[in-house]
Symmetry: C2
């Protein structure tokens, strides 16, 4: 396995994160790169979902990945093994990425070479939701073991996302998780949220998620 | 059910959070109140663990609970139903509690009336670890579905805790979770960490956790 490139990003110096994020989005649009900001709690399955998605789409899309983590390179190594170009972003203790930090990662990855870049944000259902990274779309993963009440308790994450993946449906029989309720609560926060129940372990439900991702990528890159 | 009291806390004005936390600890010691700061990812089972612990210990200890949440009162309602006095702390979007915010909660709860007070922190494996709340002991919960690599990826949480509860062991057969590895990784971060594999759903493993909590509470309150 290739050695993973690790960069240490510094907190942004920009006073206006939203303006900086808009600038990044314009640049990505111009160079035809669709950037997904993937967020979730620790252990909801961001890396596993990403590995399967890369495996399914790597022959039709050029995919790059930025793995943000406080420490360690385990995720970038897993993504590299799955067949995508990946870099590891170390946040030095920071609990989220802002637009300036994302831009440092995009530069290091060489984002212009890719149709689709995925930023795997720090595992955290709170802080990452507060910072626009410049992504074309925000996607959250909620996993079945976390419980169906999460949209009630972490409202902002569900408000800022365009799509919600509900992962680990293979273990539904062993948890008190009400799929109808989570859909109802998530749509209370954001009526336009696209919701995809999946199992990253078995592949169940991935076709709908990947069709959405494919359509969004095309729409962004072709307009 | 009694209506839950909700307080909205404001970020602390104290320049030195650690000094403020030490001041709170001294005061708790003087009034014989043991304060546990309970932290985990969203959905790891803080409230369920707490409900069972309260049920088992409420006849021998006077227990009070502060439920911190960005929004909603679902947890405080559940705790009140379990038979402990509880207040709900709303952080107004903040991803953690600091010492000053904890003090506002202790005052509202009337901490002096209790042998044991549990602060259920915001569900977040990153930020709460950075702020000393003034607690006598820090306890983290990691749940089986989150995976055994979490001590590698979120080091600070495991460094600052005195005890680690590994919850949801009833679903071990359905997850690739290596108990030996998680113990090894957690002890790499903190060799003195007391580790308790439990199922808050079935009660398995609770005796060891509750014995630890009982001993720690006695030691703090009787010295």
């Amino acid at each position: 396995m290739d050695k993973v490139r690790v960069i240490q990003v510094k907190q942004s110096v920009f006073a206006d994160n939203n303006a900086e994020a808009d600038r990044i989005r314009k640049q990505l649009k111009a160079q035809k790169t669709f950037l997904v900001n993937l967020m979730s709690s620790p252990g909801a399955g961001k890396t596993t979902t990403l590995k399967r998605t890369i495996g399914d789409l790597k022959d039709e899309l050029r995919i790059g990945v930025m793995e943000a983590d406080i420490d360690s390179t385990v995720d970038a190594e897993a993504i590299t093994a799955a067949g995508a170009r990946a870099i590891q972003i170390h946040t030095g203790g920071m609990c989220h990425l802002d637009a300036g930090m994302t831009e440092q990662g995009l530069k290091e990855l060489g984002a212009g070479d890719f149709d689709l870049v995925v930023l795997e944000n720090v595992g955290n259902l709170v802080c990452p939701a507060e910072f626009d990274t410049g992504a074309s779309r925000n996607v959250a993963i909620l996993s079945v073991p976390e419980g169906h009440d999460k949209p009630l308790k972490y409202p902002l994450m569900f408000e800022v996302c365009h799509a919600l993946i509900i992962n680990k449906i293979d273990v539904l029989p062993w948890f008190d998780f009400d799929m109808d309720k989570v859909v109802e609560y998530a749509h209370m926060r954001n009526p336009d949220l696209a919701i995809f129940p999946v199992s990253a372990k078995t592949g169940e439900g991935f076709q709908a998620w990947e069709d959405w991702l494919r359509r969004q990528t095309s729409a962004w890159n072709e307009q």
